[in-house]
C-alpha cells in the first residue's frame, strides 16, 4: 500500500459507481463548514460591536461595523472610487511590468554566467534586503507625489523577487540533465533555449507572482504615505478627515484587491505551467 493510499483511504478517492451518495455526504459537510464560518464571522462582528460599545479601544480605531458596511456599499457606487482603484492597479501593474522586463533578462544572464553571478551577488543581497519604502521621502522630493514616482518605487521593490527567482531557476539544473547536455555536446544557444529557459520559467513565474502581490502592497503604501492619488491616498485622507469607517472600508477593498490578485495569478501560473507543477513552490 502506498503512502498516498494510507493518507487518503479509499473513501476519499473518487468512486465512480455511486456518485450521488458521495456528493450528498460532501455537500452536507460543506454546509456544516459554511455554517461554522458564518458563526465565526458573526462572532467577530459581535466582539467588534462589544469593543465599540464598551469604548475599550479608541472609536477611531474601531468605528461601528454598520458604518463600515454602509461606506463599503456607498463607495462601490461612486466614480471616484473606481478611478482610484484603476489608478492604484495600473500603477502597480506598470511597475510590475517594468520589473519583469528588467528582471527576467538580467536574471537569465546572471543565471548562466558564474562570474557575473558572483560579481553581482553582493549587490543583489543589498538590493533585496533594502526596504524600498525608505526611498519614498527622497523620491517625493525628486519626482513629486505623482504616479511616475509611485511606479518607480514599485519597480524598485518588485525587481528583486523576479531577479532572484529567475537566477535561481536558471542555475538550478538537474545534474543528470546537465551531464546529458554535456554528453551530447548540445551547442550553447540550443542549450539556452531548450534547457535553461524551460527550467527557469516556473521559477520566474513564481517570482512574478510574489512580485505582483508585493506591487499592490507597495503601491498602496506609497499612496498612504505621500497622499498620491489612488486608493491609499483616499484612505489616508479619510483618516485625517476623521472618517475612520470610510478608511476601513478602503482597507477592506484593498484586501479584496490583494486577494483577487493572488487568486488570478495562482490560476494563470497553474494554467501556463501545468507541465511543471512540482516546481511551483521555491526558495523565497
Amino acid at each position: 500500500m502506498t503512502i498516498a493510499e494510507k493518507l487518503y483511504p479509499p473513501s476519499v478517492a473518487p468512486n465512480p459507481k455511486k456518485p450521488s451518495g458521495r456528493r450528498r455526504v460532501r455537500s452536507r459537510k460543506r454546509i456544516g463548514l459554511a455554517a461554522w464560518q458564518l458563526g465565526t464571522a458573526l462572532l467577530i462582528a459581535a466582539v467588534w460591536t462589544l469593543v465599540y460599545e464598551s469604548g475599550l479601544l479608541s472609536r477611531e480605531l474601531v468605528p461601528p461595523l454598520w458604518d463600515v458596511a454602509r461606506e463599503f456599499v456607498t463607495l462601490a457606487g461612486t466614480a471616484a472610487f473606481w478611478a482610484a482603484l484603476a489608478t492604484t492597479v495600473s500603477n502597480a501593474l506598470t511597475g510590475l511590468a517594468a520589473g519583469i522586463v528588467v528582471g527576467v533578462p538580467f536574471g537569465l544572464l546572471l543565471g548562466i554566467s558564474q562570474a557575473a553571478y558572483r560579481s553581482a551577488q553582493f549587490l543583489i543581497e543589498l538590493g533585496r534586503s533594502f526596504p524600498v519604502i525608505a526611498l519614498l521621502p527622497v523620491m517625493v522630493l525628486v519626482l513629486g507625489a505623482t504616479s511616475q514616482m509611485e511606479i518607480v518605487v514599485v519597480f524598485s521593490g518588485v525587481l528583486w523577487p523576479i531577479l532572484v527567482q529567475t537566477i535561481y531557476g536558471a542555475r538550478r539544473i538537474d545534474p543528470v540533465i546537465a551531464d546529458t547536455v554535456r554528453g551530447y555536446r548540445i551547442p550553447p544557444l540550443l542549450r539556452f533555449v531548450k534547457v535553461v529557459l524551460p527550467n527557469a520559467a516556473p521559477f520566474a513565474a513564481t517570482g512574478v507572482r510574489i512580485a505582483a502581490s508585493a506591487s499592490i502592497l507597495i503601491a498602496i503604501g506609497v499612496e498612504v504615505l505621500s497622499l498620491t492619488p489612488g486608493m491609499g491616498g483616499n484612505l489616508a485622507r479619510a483618516q485625517t478627515d476623521g472618517a475612520p469607517a470610510l478608511a476601513l472600508a478602503y482597507v477592506v477593498y484593498a484586501g479584496l484587491v490583494g486577494l483577487a490578485m493572488n487568486k488570478i495569478l495562482w490560476t494563470v501560473e497553474g494554467r501556463a505551467l501545468a507541465w511543471n507543477r512540482r516546481a511551483t513552490r521555491s526558495e523565497p
Binding site: 500500500m1 503512502i3 493510499e5 494510507k6 483511504p9 479509499p10 473513501s11 468512486n15 455511486k18 451518495g21 458521495r22 455526504v25
Partner: protein
C-alpha cells in the same frame, strides 16, 4: 552478534500474552459508499512466535498491521491482547514503520530518538539513557547514539527504529515492510537480527512483507491474505525452529515447498 551481555535490562521483556484479531473486518467510508478492505480475519500470534503476513500489494496488509497496533479501530470484530480488548495503542506492542527515514526525527540524535517514547512514559533521564544505549547495543549499533539519524545508513536507521521499539518494553514487535528499502546484504543481516532478538528476548514479532522468501525465512507461520476484500486464504506452518541460516535454511526442501505453496496461493 556479540550483544548478549548487554541485555540484562531487557530480560523482563519475554512475551506472555498472545496478540489476536477475531472476526476482524475493516471498511473505509460509510453507508452505501463504504469500501470493505478486510473481511472476517482471524489471526493469532502466540508468545515468542514470529508471524509473517504476506499478500499482493494493495491487499490491506498495512491496514491489518495498523489495526494490530491499535492505530486503526476495526469496523467489526476485535483485537485482543491476552484477555483484554485493545482500544488504542498499548505499551506492550511496539511498531517499526516502513519509512524509517521519516519516523526517526532528524532533529534528535539517535539515542534521543530511541529514548523519546520513554520520556513520554515519564522515565528519568539517566534510566532512559541507559536503556537506550542497551537497546542500541542489542541491535548492533553501539556507537551510533551520538549521531543523527541522517548520518546513518539505511540499514542502520532501521536498526535504530527497532531499538526504539525494543526500548518501549514491547513484548510484541510489529514491523511494516521493515526491510523494503535496504540492499540485499543489509536485508539478510536485519532478518538475522530479528531472529536473534526473538530468541534472546523471547518477544513475539509480526512482519508484514511482500517478499515471500523473507516471510518463509523469518516466520513460524505465514498468513496469506488475498482477494477484495482481503481474507485469509492460507496459513503455512514453517518447521525450522528458532535457529536459521541464510544459506542452509533456504536450501531445505521444506523451504522451497512452503515458498511454492504461498506463491501459488497468491497467484490464484
Amino acid at each position: 552478534m556479540t550483544t548478549a551481555e548487554h541485555l540484562d535490562l531487557l530480560d523482563e521483556r519475554r512475551a506472555r500474552h498472545p496478540l489476536a484479531v477475531k472476526g476482524l473486518s475493516k471498511s473505509y467510508g460509510e453507508g452505501s459508499t463504504a469500501v470493505r478492505v478486510l473481511e472476517d480475519l482471524d489471526v493469532r500470534v502466540e508468545p515468542n512466535e514470529i508471524v509473517c503476513i504476506v499478500g499482493p500489494s494493495g491487499v490491506g496488509k498495512t491496514t491489518l498491521l495498523r489495526c494490530l497496533a491499535g492505530l486503526l479501530a476495526p469496523t467489526t470484530g476485535a483485537v485482543m491482547f491476552g484477555p483484554t480488548t485493545m482500544t488504542g495503542p498499548i505499551l506492550e506492542v511496539g511498531v517499526v514503520f516502513q519509512d524509517y527515514s521519516r519516523s526517526l526525527l532528524p532533529w534528535m540524535r539517535t539515542r534521543e530518538n530511541v529514548s523519546f517514547p520513554l520520556q513520554g512514559k515519564g522515565m528519568r533521564k539517566a534510566a532512559r539513557r541507559a536503556l537506550a544505549d542497551q537497546c542500541l547495543n542489542a541491535v548492533g549499533l553501539p556507537d551510533a547514539g551520538r549521531k543523527y539519524p541522517w548520518q546513518l545508513s539505511g540499514g542502520m536507521q532501521q536498526r535504530a527504529a527497532i531499538a526504539r521499539a525494543l526500548a518501549y518494553q514491547s513484548e510484541v514487535l510489529l514491523m511494516d515492510e521493515p526491510f523494503a528499502s535496504v540492499d540485499a546484504q543489509t536485508r539478510f543481516d536485519l532478518e538475522d537480527l530479528v531472529l536473534h532478538l526473538r530468541k534472546r528476548l523471547g518477544i513475539s514479532v509480526v512482519v508484514v512483507t511482500h517478499d515471500i522468501d523473507e516471510a518463509v525465512y523469518l516466520a513460524d507461520r505465514v498468513v496469506v491474505l488475498s482477494g477484495h476484500p482481503a481474507h485469509v486464504v492460507d496459513v503455512v506452518e514453517v518447521p525450522f525452529g528458532q535457529d536459521r541460516d541464510q544459506i542452509q535454511t533456504k536450501a531445505e526442501p521444506a523451504f522451497t515447498e512452503a515458498r511454492a505453496r504461498i506463491l501459488g496461493r497468491i497467484r490464484r
